[in-house]
Protein backbone atom coordinates (compact mmCIF):
# COMPACT_ATOMS: atom_id res chain seq x y z
CA UNK A 1 0.00 0.00 0.00
CA UNK A 2 1.56 3.29 -1.09
CA UNK A 3 2.01 5.90 1.60
CA UNK A 4 2.76 9.57 1.23
CA UNK A 5 6.42 10.44 1.65
CA UNK A 6 6.39 12.94 4.50
CA UNK A 7 9.03 13.69 7.09
CA UNK A 8 7.52 12.28 10.32
CA UNK A 9 9.27 14.91 12.43
CA UNK A 10 7.81 17.73 10.39
CA UNK A 11 4.38 16.14 10.50
CA UNK A 12 4.63 15.63 14.26
CA UNK A 13 5.67 19.24 14.80
CA UNK A 14 2.77 20.55 12.69
CA UNK A 15 0.22 18.40 14.52
CA UNK A 16 1.66 19.29 17.93
CA UNK A 17 1.74 23.04 17.32
CA UNK A 18 -1.83 22.95 15.98
CA UNK A 19 -3.03 21.04 19.03
CA UNK A 20 -1.20 23.11 21.62
CA UNK A 21 -2.40 26.36 20.10
CA UNK A 22 -6.00 25.51 19.23
CA UNK A 23 -6.86 22.97 21.91
CA UNK A 24 -4.67 24.14 24.78
CA UNK A 25 -4.44 27.84 23.95
CA UNK A 26 -0.69 27.56 24.56
CA UNK A 27 1.81 29.25 22.27
CA UNK A 28 5.35 28.08 21.82
CA UNK A 29 8.27 30.02 23.17
CA UNK A 30 10.96 31.12 20.73
CA UNK A 31 13.53 28.87 22.31
CA UNK A 32 13.77 26.22 24.95
CA UNK A 33 14.65 28.04 28.14
CA UNK A 34 13.62 25.38 30.60
CA UNK A 35 15.27 22.27 29.24
CA UNK A 36 15.87 21.00 32.72
CA UNK A 37 12.20 21.10 33.66
CA UNK A 38 11.40 17.52 34.64
CA UNK A 39 8.70 15.69 32.72
CA UNK A 40 5.92 15.02 35.20
CA UNK A 41 3.43 12.94 33.25
CA UNK A 42 3.25 10.90 30.08
CA UNK A 43 0.43 9.74 27.81
CA UNK A 44 0.63 7.02 25.20
CA UNK A 45 -1.85 6.49 22.38
CA UNK A 46 -1.49 3.26 20.40
CA UNK A 47 -2.73 3.16 16.83
CA UNK A 48 -3.17 0.60 14.10
CA UNK A 49 -3.84 0.93 10.40
CA UNK A 50 -1.55 0.80 7.35
CA UNK A 51 1.18 0.84 9.99
CA UNK A 52 1.00 0.46 13.76
CA UNK A 53 2.73 2.15 16.63
CA UNK A 54 2.15 4.70 19.35
CA UNK A 55 2.39 8.39 20.03
CA UNK A 56 3.83 9.54 23.32
CA UNK A 57 3.40 12.97 24.90
CA UNK A 58 5.22 14.00 28.08
CA UNK A 59 4.96 17.38 29.82
CA UNK A 60 6.49 19.21 32.70
CA UNK A 61 4.13 19.81 35.62
CA UNK A 62 3.66 23.53 35.12
CA UNK A 63 2.79 23.18 31.46
CA UNK A 64 0.27 20.42 32.13
CA UNK A 65 -1.49 22.39 34.87
CA UNK A 66 -1.64 25.52 32.71
CA UNK A 67 -2.87 23.77 29.61
CA UNK A 68 -5.54 21.92 31.60
CA UNK A 69 -6.77 25.17 33.13
CA UNK A 70 -6.88 26.71 29.67
CA UNK A 71 -8.89 23.81 28.29
CA UNK A 72 -11.36 24.03 31.15
CA UNK A 73 -11.51 27.82 31.00
CA UNK A 74 -10.90 28.01 34.71
CA UNK A 75 -8.42 30.09 36.64
CA UNK A 76 -8.23 27.79 39.64
CA UNK A 77 -5.82 24.87 39.81
CA UNK A 78 -7.15 21.81 38.02
CA UNK A 79 -7.19 18.49 39.83
CA UNK A 80 -4.76 15.69 39.02
CA UNK A 81 -7.60 13.71 37.48
CA UNK A 82 -8.40 16.62 35.18
CA UNK A 83 -4.72 17.02 34.28
CA UNK A 84 -4.43 13.32 33.36
CA UNK A 85 -7.62 13.59 31.33
CA UNK A 86 -6.33 16.66 29.50
CA UNK A 87 -2.96 15.05 28.77
CA UNK A 88 -4.65 11.99 27.33
CA UNK A 89 -6.90 14.14 25.16
CA UNK A 90 -3.95 16.16 23.89
CA UNK A 91 -2.11 12.96 22.98
CA UNK A 92 -5.24 11.68 21.27
CA UNK A 93 -5.68 14.84 19.21
CA UNK A 94 -2.01 15.03 18.22
CA UNK A 95 -2.10 11.37 17.19
CA UNK A 96 -5.27 11.86 15.18
CA UNK A 97 -3.70 14.80 13.38
CA UNK A 98 -0.22 13.44 12.71
CA UNK A 99 -1.18 10.13 11.09
CA UNK A 100 -3.05 11.61 8.08
CA UNK A 101 -0.12 13.96 7.55
CA UNK A 102 2.17 10.95 7.20
CA UNK A 103 -0.04 8.34 5.58
CA UNK A 104 -2.48 10.50 3.64
CA UNK A 105 -6.06 11.41 4.48
CA UNK A 106 -7.56 8.41 2.69
CA UNK A 107 -5.99 5.92 5.10
CA UNK A 108 -7.96 4.63 8.09
CA UNK A 109 -6.36 4.31 11.53
CA UNK A 110 -7.89 3.08 14.77
CA UNK A 111 -6.72 4.80 17.94
CA UNK A 112 -6.71 3.14 21.35
CA UNK A 113 -7.71 5.01 24.48
CA UNK A 114 -4.86 7.09 25.91
CA UNK A 115 -2.84 5.52 28.74
CA UNK A 116 -1.54 8.11 31.18
CA UNK A 117 1.28 7.58 33.63
CA UNK A 118 3.24 9.83 35.91
CA UNK A 119 6.90 10.74 35.91
CA UNK A 120 9.73 10.37 33.48
CA UNK A 121 9.88 6.61 33.88
CA UNK A 122 6.89 6.27 31.61
CA UNK A 123 8.82 7.83 28.74
CA UNK A 124 11.38 5.16 28.26
CA UNK A 125 9.82 2.16 29.95
CA UNK A 126 9.32 -0.66 27.44
CA UNK A 127 6.08 -1.53 29.16
CA UNK A 128 4.63 1.88 28.33
CA UNK A 129 3.35 0.59 25.00
CA UNK A 130 -0.39 0.50 25.46
CA UNK A 131 -1.29 -2.01 22.76
CA UNK A 132 1.30 -4.73 22.70
CA UNK A 133 3.16 -4.66 19.46
CA UNK A 134 3.99 -7.84 17.60
CA UNK A 135 7.52 -6.72 16.88
CA UNK A 136 10.18 -4.21 17.87
CA UNK A 137 9.22 -0.58 17.86
CA UNK A 138 11.44 2.10 16.47
CA UNK A 139 11.53 5.83 17.08
CA UNK A 140 10.21 7.57 13.96
CA UNK A 141 10.20 11.14 15.25
CA UNK A 142 10.89 13.09 18.41
CA UNK A 143 10.37 16.78 19.05
CA UNK A 144 10.71 18.95 22.10
CA UNK A 145 8.55 22.04 22.39
CA UNK A 146 9.29 25.00 24.66
CA UNK A 147 5.94 25.91 26.18
CA UNK A 148 5.32 28.57 28.78
CA UNK A 149 7.99 28.00 31.45
CA UNK A 150 8.39 24.31 30.79
CA UNK A 151 8.48 21.87 27.92
CA UNK A 152 6.69 19.08 26.16
CA UNK A 153 8.32 16.04 24.59
CA UNK A 154 6.53 14.19 21.81
CA UNK A 155 7.73 10.93 20.32
CA UNK A 156 6.28 8.82 17.55
CA UNK A 157 7.08 5.11 17.43
CA UNK A 158 6.36 2.69 14.60
CA UNK A 159 6.15 -1.04 15.17
CA UNK A 160 8.52 -3.13 13.10
CA UNK A 161 7.34 -6.73 12.71
CA UNK A 162 9.85 -9.43 13.56
Amino acid sequence: MALSIVDPSQALRQAAVLTFEELGFMFLEAELCAAAAPLAATANVAFRGPFTGRLQVAMSAGVLAEITANMLGEVSSPSLVQQCDALGEIANVVCGNVLPRIAGSHQIFRLAAPVVGDGVDGVDAPGAHAAGAAGVEELAAAIELPVSEGRALLRLFFDRPN
Binding site: T68, L72, G73, Q82, D85, G96, S105
Partner: protein
Protein backbone atom coordinates in the same frame (compact mmCIF):
# COMPACT_ATOMS: atom_id res chain seq x y z
CA UNK B 1 -36.67 27.80 20.66
CA UNK B 2 -33.84 26.61 22.95
CA UNK B 3 -32.54 23.14 22.21
CA UNK B 4 -31.46 20.28 24.46
CA UNK B 5 -27.98 19.00 23.66
CA UNK B 6 -26.28 15.68 24.44
CA UNK B 7 -22.46 15.77 24.61
CA UNK B 8 -20.83 12.35 24.28
CA UNK B 9 -17.09 12.03 24.93
CA UNK B 10 -15.04 9.83 27.24
CA UNK B 11 -12.94 12.85 28.25
CA UNK B 12 -14.59 15.05 30.89
CA UNK B 13 -12.22 17.88 29.96
CA UNK B 14 -13.30 17.67 26.32
CA UNK B 15 -16.96 17.62 27.33
CA UNK B 16 -16.36 20.78 29.34
CA UNK B 17 -14.62 22.39 26.35
CA UNK B 18 -17.54 21.56 24.08
CA UNK B 19 -20.07 22.92 26.58
CA UNK B 20 -18.01 26.08 26.98
CA UNK B 21 -17.93 26.44 23.20
CA UNK B 22 -21.73 26.20 23.12
CA UNK B 23 -21.94 29.00 25.67
CA UNK B 24 -19.38 31.16 23.91
CA UNK B 25 -21.27 30.67 20.66
CA UNK B 26 -24.38 32.16 22.20
CA UNK B 27 -26.53 29.34 20.92
CA UNK B 28 -30.02 28.97 22.43
CA UNK B 29 -29.35 25.90 24.56
CA UNK B 30 -31.86 24.90 27.23
CA UNK B 31 -30.20 21.88 28.79
CA UNK B 32 -26.97 19.95 28.28
CA UNK B 33 -26.76 16.24 29.02
CA UNK B 34 -23.44 14.38 29.21
CA UNK B 35 -22.44 10.79 28.48
CA UNK B 36 -19.07 9.02 28.55
CA UNK B 37 -19.71 6.51 25.78
CA UNK B 38 -22.19 5.48 23.15
CA UNK B 39 -24.07 3.06 25.35
CA UNK B 40 -24.62 5.65 28.06
CA UNK B 41 -25.65 8.14 25.38
CA UNK B 42 -28.25 5.78 23.90
CA UNK B 43 -29.73 5.36 27.37
CA UNK B 44 -29.96 9.13 27.77
CA UNK B 45 -31.56 9.46 24.35
CA UNK B 46 -34.28 7.07 25.51
CA UNK B 47 -34.85 8.98 28.76
CA UNK B 48 -34.64 12.60 27.61
CA UNK B 49 -35.76 14.78 24.74
CA UNK B 50 -32.57 15.56 22.80
CA UNK B 51 -32.50 17.99 19.87
CA UNK B 52 -28.82 17.62 19.02
CA UNK B 53 -26.06 15.11 19.83
CA UNK B 54 -22.36 16.03 19.73
CA UNK B 55 -20.51 12.72 19.56
CA UNK B 56 -16.88 11.61 19.74
CA UNK B 57 -15.85 8.54 17.76
CA UNK B 58 -13.09 6.83 19.74
CA UNK B 59 -14.70 5.83 23.06
CA UNK B 60 -14.68 2.72 25.23
CA UNK B 61 -17.70 0.41 25.66
CA UNK B 62 -19.45 1.69 22.51
CA UNK B 63 -17.81 4.03 20.02
CA UNK B 64 -19.53 6.88 18.25
CA UNK B 65 -19.89 5.11 14.92
CA UNK B 66 -21.72 2.17 16.51
CA UNK B 67 -23.90 4.59 18.44
CA UNK B 68 -24.75 6.49 15.26
CA UNK B 69 -25.58 3.26 13.41
CA UNK B 70 -27.85 2.23 16.27
CA UNK B 71 -29.60 5.62 16.27
CA UNK B 72 -30.29 5.41 12.54
CA UNK B 73 -31.84 1.97 13.00
CA UNK B 74 -34.27 3.12 15.69
CA UNK B 75 -37.23 5.05 14.24
CA UNK B 76 -37.68 7.54 17.08
CA UNK B 77 -33.93 8.36 17.16
CA UNK B 78 -33.19 8.20 13.45
CA UNK B 79 -33.80 11.89 12.82
CA UNK B 80 -31.90 13.32 15.79
CA UNK B 81 -29.22 15.64 14.35
CA UNK B 82 -25.68 14.44 15.11
CA UNK B 83 -22.38 16.29 14.91
CA UNK B 84 -19.34 14.06 15.17
CA UNK B 85 -16.56 15.90 17.03
CA UNK B 86 -13.45 13.81 16.58
CA UNK B 87 -9.78 13.60 15.72
CA UNK B 88 -10.68 11.31 12.83
CA UNK B 89 -8.49 12.24 9.90
CA UNK B 90 -9.55 9.72 7.29
CA UNK B 91 -11.61 11.17 4.46
CA UNK B 92 -12.95 7.66 3.86
CA UNK B 93 -14.26 7.29 7.39
CA UNK B 94 -15.59 10.85 7.52
CA UNK B 95 -17.52 10.15 4.32
CA UNK B 96 -18.98 7.03 5.95
CA UNK B 97 -20.16 9.10 8.91
CA UNK B 98 -21.63 11.77 6.67
CA UNK B 99 -23.46 9.06 4.74
CA UNK B 100 -25.24 8.33 8.00
CA UNK B 101 -26.41 11.92 8.11
CA UNK B 102 -23.85 13.27 10.59
CA UNK B 103 -21.97 16.52 10.30
CA UNK B 104 -18.29 16.48 11.18
CA UNK B 105 -16.10 18.82 13.25
CA UNK B 106 -12.43 18.00 13.48
CA UNK B 107 -10.49 18.32 16.76
CA UNK B 108 -9.02 20.73 17.55
CA UNK B 109 -11.92 23.03 16.76
CA UNK B 110 -12.82 26.63 17.41
CA UNK B 111 -16.10 27.64 19.09
CA UNK B 112 -16.98 29.50 15.90
CA UNK B 113 -16.58 26.38 13.77
CA UNK B 114 -18.80 24.37 16.09
CA UNK B 115 -21.38 27.16 16.19
CA UNK B 116 -21.59 27.42 12.40
CA UNK B 117 -22.02 23.68 11.96
CA UNK B 118 -24.75 23.54 14.61
CA UNK B 119 -26.62 26.47 13.05
CA UNK B 120 -26.38 24.88 9.62
CA UNK B 121 -27.56 21.51 10.89
CA UNK B 122 -30.35 22.54 13.25
CA UNK B 123 -31.40 25.95 12.01
CA UNK B 124 -31.13 27.45 15.51
CA UNK B 125 -30.09 31.06 15.71
CA UNK B 126 -27.76 32.87 18.04
CA UNK B 127 -29.62 34.19 21.07
CA UNK B 128 -27.25 37.05 21.69
CA UNK B 129 -26.18 35.93 25.15
CA UNK B 130 -22.51 35.70 25.94
CA UNK B 131 -21.16 34.19 29.11
CA UNK B 132 -17.41 33.79 29.32
CA UNK B 133 -17.47 32.40 32.84
CA UNK B 134 -16.29 28.91 33.67
CA UNK B 135 -18.62 26.06 32.96
CA UNK B 136 -19.19 23.48 35.64
CA UNK B 137 -20.06 20.45 33.56
CA UNK B 138 -22.59 17.93 34.69
CA UNK B 139 -21.48 14.52 35.82
CA UNK B 140 -21.59 11.86 33.09
CA UNK B 141 -25.12 10.62 32.84
CA UNK B 142 -26.30 13.90 34.29
CA UNK B 143 -27.53 17.17 32.89
CA UNK B 144 -26.85 20.85 33.20
CA UNK B 145 -29.27 23.75 32.80
CA UNK B 146 -27.92 26.64 30.76
Amino acid sequence: MPINVLVVDDSAVMRSMIIRSLKLGGLPVARVHEARDGQEALSMLEDHWIDLALVDINMPVMDGEEMLNHMRDVPHLADVPVVVVSTEGSDTRIAQLKALGAEFVHKPFSPETLRQVIIRLTGVEQDGTFDCGPVAGAAPGGSLDF
